[in-house]
Symmetry: D2
Subunit: 436 residues, 4 copies
Amino acid sequence: MTTEIFKNIGRIPFKGPDSDDPLAFRDYEPDRMVLGKRMEDHLRVAVCWWHTFCWPGVDMFGAGTFDRSWQAADTLENAELKLQAAFEFFEKLGVPYFCFHDADVAPLGETIAEGDANLARIEELMRAGIDRTGVKLLWGTANLFSHRRYMAGGATNPDPEVFAFAAAQVARVLEMTHRLGGENYVLWGGREGYDTLLNTDMKREMDQLGRFLSMVVEHKHRIGFTGTILIEPKPMEPTKHQYDHDAATVHAFLRKYGLEKEIRLNLEVNHATLAGHSFEHEVAYAIANDLMGSFDINRGDPQNGWDTDQFPNDDREAALALFHILSAGGLTSGGFNFDAKVRRQSIDAEDLFMAHIGGMDTLARGLLMAERMIGDGKLAGFVTERYAGWTQGLGADILAGRSSLSDLATLARDQGLKPQPRSGRQEYLENLVNRY
Amino acid sequence: MTTEIFKNIGRIPFKGPDSDDPLAFRDYEPDRMVLGKRMEDHLRVAVCWWHTFCWPGVDMFGAGTFDRSWQAADTLENAELKLQAAFEFFEKLGVPYFCFHDADVAPLGETIAEGDANLARIEELMRAGIDRTGVKLLWGTANLFSHRRYMAGGATNPDPEVFAFAAAQVARVLEMTHRLGGENYVLWGGREGYDTLLNTDMKREMDQLGRFLSMVVEHKHRIGFTGTILIEPKPMEPTKHQYDHDAATVHAFLRKYGLEKEIRLNLEVNHATLAGHSFEHEVAYAIANDLMGSFDINRGDPQNGWDTDQFPNDDREAALALFHILSAGGLTSGGFNFDAKVRRQSIDAEDLFMAHIGGMDTLARGLLMAERMIGDGKLAGFVTERYAGWTQGLGADILAGRSSLSDLATLARDQGLKPQPRSGRQEYLENLVNRY
Amino acid sequence: MTTEIFKNIGRIPFKGPDSDDPLAFRDYEPDRMVLGKRMEDHLRVAVCWWHTFCWPGVDMFGAGTFDRSWQAADTLENAELKLQAAFEFFEKLGVPYFCFHDADVAPLGETIAEGDANLARIEELMRAGIDRTGVKLLWGTANLFSHRRYMAGGATNPDPEVFAFAAAQVARVLEMTHRLGGENYVLWGGREGYDTLLNTDMKREMDQLGRFLSMVVEHKHRIGFTGTILIEPKPMEPTKHQYDHDAATVHAFLRKYGLEKEIRLNLEVNHATLAGHSFEHEVAYAIANDLMGSFDINRGDPQNGWDTDQFPNDDREAALALFHILSAGGLTSGGFNFDAKVRRQSIDAEDLFMAHIGGMDTLARGLLMAERMIGDGKLAGFVTERYAGWTQGLGADILAGRSSLSDLATLARDQGLKPQPRSGRQEYLENLVNRY
Amino acid sequence: MTTEIFKNIGRIPFKGPDSDDPLAFRDYEPDRMVLGKRMEDHLRVAVCWWHTFCWPGVDMFGAGTFDRSWQAADTLENAELKLQAAFEFFEKLGVPYFCFHDADVAPLGETIAEGDANLARIEELMRAGIDRTGVKLLWGTANLFSHRRYMAGGATNPDPEVFAFAAAQVARVLEMTHRLGGENYVLWGGREGYDTLLNTDMKREMDQLGRFLSMVVEHKHRIGFTGTILIEPKPMEPTKHQYDHDAATVHAFLRKYGLEKEIRLNLEVNHATLAGHSFEHEVAYAIANDLMGSFDINRGDPQNGWDTDQFPNDDREAALALFHILSAGGLTSGGFNFDAKVRRQSIDAEDLFMAHIGGMDTLARGLLMAERMIGDGKLAGFVTERYAGWTQGLGADILAGRSSLSDLATLARDQGLKPQPRSGRQEYLENLVNRY
Ligand SMILES: [Co+2]
Ligand SMILES: [Co+2]
Ligand SMILES: [Co+2]
Ligand SMILES: [Co+2]
Ligand SMILES: [Co+2]
Ligand SMILES: [Co+2]
Ligand SMILES: [Co+2]
Ligand SMILES: [Co+2]
């Protein structure tokens, strides 16, 4: 089990923008200082266990295309081999973080007890891997969507026993995440939604989900976990509609159930666009409402209406998101996770590396662009100036609650107000963004 | 001004399903008793002023196609003629309600004062029309989106003077609505959003909007208006993104600004589908979260990504919505408003009548289908039975907060829980719906 | 192997619209005469092998949910059991047709030879099933998309050996279809497209595909197959873009490669909507261009951007399609195939039956509505009258090529033409459709 | 009439990438040599008359926001002022081309004769402008969609007199285009489609359109116009469905009516994405099928389902399109036209300039990236190598028609073919693109 797995690939070096080595970084330079902080500490990149090591290249119309030794069967032995591959990959790629679901790392069996032993063994190996490599756990999560018991939901299942089973899985992974020093715990409600409203009591299901999340928060405090609890919004797929549809929908939910101070968001680019939003929108919404947590930085295909989970390759999109994130103080416990699959035709180990390298270089370029945006202050300055009227006089009075509707009506009527529009300068600003 | 306008069309009669008279109702029978209430009192149908009397058949690629005497110029004289046409239309069609924007009914000029006189004259005529015909005002609203002063928003404008102007318009129409006995007041934020995030301070704009709505609520109470304040969600168009995106987004907003007990929703079918939801979803969401107010029952085109505002013609869609609405107690202050345009090629007065007749017949058929759904209890019974586990034992304990995550983990582990899935019966239920 | 499989379900009877037996037809009455032909002979309903007997309830986020004895392993023994289940299902449901892929009915192994023996055995059993039950083969097809060899295409693969393998599969199933009396042969190009243009030579791939189809047509004639060769358009999924995107795209392709007289279309409702068209549009386009062949009548979900392949439940949609189809002479070699999956939560055998019953009842209602549309002649009459100007005088001259652009310019100029628009009467027509 | 209109703006200079002057080019340098040709001669940029000089900032929910002297009324006097503004704009921006519709440049009145005189006067001034400035006409076109006579189509109207009127308009503008030295003539069929199939005879309408286009081609030859006739595909909007839906649909149409050698495509980025394609796809399709003509380079908004017609700002998208275009020999009679609107809030003259500057800089950067792509040969080399098997041996035999389906079946069976997949290297290629 100590044989090298990715045999022909060594530690990925930084070679700079002039390199054309596809197995080197051109832009990602962990120690480069950006706005007073190392690039690595800004981006906090994570590799995910599921797509990178578990997905065999299957899609709804085709069998697996990859040929990876540990994917032959769902055994503990293979799980150990997979873990070995994972840590070798983390080290060679040079990432500081990883993420996992319980079901990714060990066979879970049909009962909680069956999974316990396997997870214990894997936790031991994971601990050793973390200690040996210094790669840390960004977040753990429980898979409450693949097993047929969850076909009608985890927390929102019509059967309370499924809720109890889900609770047991979450408690177990939350505790494991805590022991392993994980910095966040994520909930993605892939089955917490409906296939048809005809068989669904939406209010009841939302109450169940509210109760579930409250219990998770309570458990977190009980065990002393100081990381962040995160919800990952997704509008649909696998179900017709999921209750954590987008940032705003989760926001409503958290406020309704009194959880808005306890839970934050893990936003995914692909889920943003499936919900009909730009990623930048979801980031800005989260920040405006104190919900920013962490990010899955994988993108979709603009022409395809499902979760393609592709590696990021658009540095301008990354830059605009990072501009908002850095302006809001930057990441704290969160990171940038690649919840991303190589394409089904990318069957070689090299593809797995190149995909991550490209994604990290994209983030790095985005960061350097955001640094320049912040550095010259033009974007922020434009916005500040545009809303200057709200910081004093009439605007300040309104915001401070010193004017009633009647007061303003009187003002507008008596002064014969004729407000004159000013250009929004959208094209100027778009041109400006293209200069960074 | 007392000449008949729709000369060749009389009062639209009910002729029943065997009639093939295109200018008669086949299904809409106001006095028919449905679940103990008159059909008219269930549906509370409203005609809108703007599309039905103001829109000239223009689109982004073409000039007006209609030939209506009162549309020649935006004068008070034409506004009076339009009002005459409106009440003649209401009476001939036999609807109990209408809706209007300030800008639909009178020339507003460039200052508040300029609009005051025109509106006063129109209010007088409207009062007379209401008294004479018995047709009532479902809701009034202010147009905060067409004039160039609002190009960057009303309440969310960077210029506080625009906010004040908007406040004056809303105060004026809210008071007018109150005097005319209107049952609701609606806010649709067509410019309360952004064209680009590059020039937008989202948090600030949402705070401005929150302040605005709070002032409206306070004014409502001050003047003694007992109707309902409603927000109409729409995801986009005219802007790239609007802050009242969908029911859930508005829900978050209302809770954040402490308005969730004061404001409810005016849901539009076309806006639901533009936001990526079924109308039934938005209805169910509103009910599950105590936000149901009123409805714009116009639909979109499933292949076109803009607000086509077509008359409803799908009785099954209407029936499923009405099934939820009636199950939740039915409409109170709300109604079904046709925020609908005839197609640009439907240039005749007959088209205007036939469009509304078809829409009302569709609602009537939907209502009769919903009556049967409720009558046999099969749909509701299925759902009740499906969630029966939550009304006692483990389920009740969980919902009541008597079990912690640990408790459930212990239960699942120690009892070796193996929950077995039960069929969701979606196809059975879809077949069932087709039987009503 | 002769034990009954669907034990508690007998022959599905017709019980009429008053029945509330979920395992009976309410509308589908095979012998009912409609426009001079039996309902069964109009609709020519087919059950598909793949979704109905092979799909285990898996999706991209979850394992199989069904529990069907023959799905345990991909062995010949299970294939035989599955075949037994299929014919029992066909008989109990009372459908006249079925469809299959080679890979659905037998294990195909890794080489052509490995598949030959298994297919031979299955063909023998299928022959016996057909003879015993009278259920016929609507169409056969080869699976050129699931095996990893096809990940980059069948006919459009960069490797000519894959083309040769695909040719061997198609030749084998085409011959088998011919021997079994199949009435059509279908090609669906699920991998004939691209994931990225960066690695794709589109012109070369289209030429390969053109060559492939020409060879199929030549082979059909060589072996004396008199059935119809059909292409099933789909815009995307599994690939980013497929070359048989929609009816018009296939039309262009067939004309470019001189195949428009040899190949027709198998149109699927769900693929129409994924391509941004109504199903009615694709039907009308196919008819207008002499390409109508057969139909996959499964629908999508209007809010979900992937192939949900749901059973039809919208009788109005079916009626409008059937109105076009019957007006064009009705189906000849084609049929209505349910390329439809029960939902993943519909895990019982009853669900499989109820889904097909609901679909057949929907088609039956659609047919009866179309009968009334055709019977009263109102829809067709309206259209004929609307275009009456083109059947004589100026219109006929133009269409017959008797006027040049100059002639018409002179006419318009000299006569001072001022054409006056006439109402398109869309709402009247929509109301009319709701009366059938 | 000789006063300067854009008073505070002079000739836009090239200042290079280090400039932060918003009214200077950073990348567009007309004389820079790229692959042996001047940048200006590669890009052949055109400004459009309609959006840039005619559109007043109106949208479906709001009145015009701009304040431009010549937009006050549709008079000949204003048309002359607009023409003056246009040529001043062309010169100051430094573009080589412009485009126009008849209705953009002069009041057309209600009869052909009414438009003749106005157009004659404008043609005279346009001739003088062209002679004075050296700016040339890329293409002319007739507006067959704005007037109410065209509400049900131009060539596809149910009324042959409308067809005749359209013919007169096209003949007139085609001749004017010819006299002015225009290099192309464009047809965009904004009303050549349907709002509902219920009132539409699709086959008849397509035959009418086929006839119309044949007449246009015949007239072109008759008058000796040697420019290119182009069709601009658009899937929908203003109608529900347009017959020139996308490149493939037009391809089918042209082949059906025998016009594929006579007419080519004017592809628009925004129309590509509305049709569910990437722009790169439409470019590649056009090239693969010998249909490349010219381009409208304005983009849409990925979250909005209508034609937003924004200025291009994505250099990577431009680069990939230009890579295909240059690889296919580059533009001949076509160009890059900005069929683009500034945003409704961009109300200043500066915005109009900055928008065009940003678009031209984007094209320039795209061109320089494409130069590097072509220069190092990596992208093309990868593709060539990937399909190498088709240039000899088995592949060449297949393409040349030397193998039948039977031959290949025998080959695959007898040789026991087991084709092995090779990685498609999508992520490597995406990374590569990010290096240019
Ligand atoms: Co995802
Ligand atoms: Co994710
Ligand atoms: Co609307
Ligand atoms: Co509305
Ligand atoms: Co499908
Ligand atoms: Co299909
Ligand atoms: Co456009
Ligand atoms: Co265009």
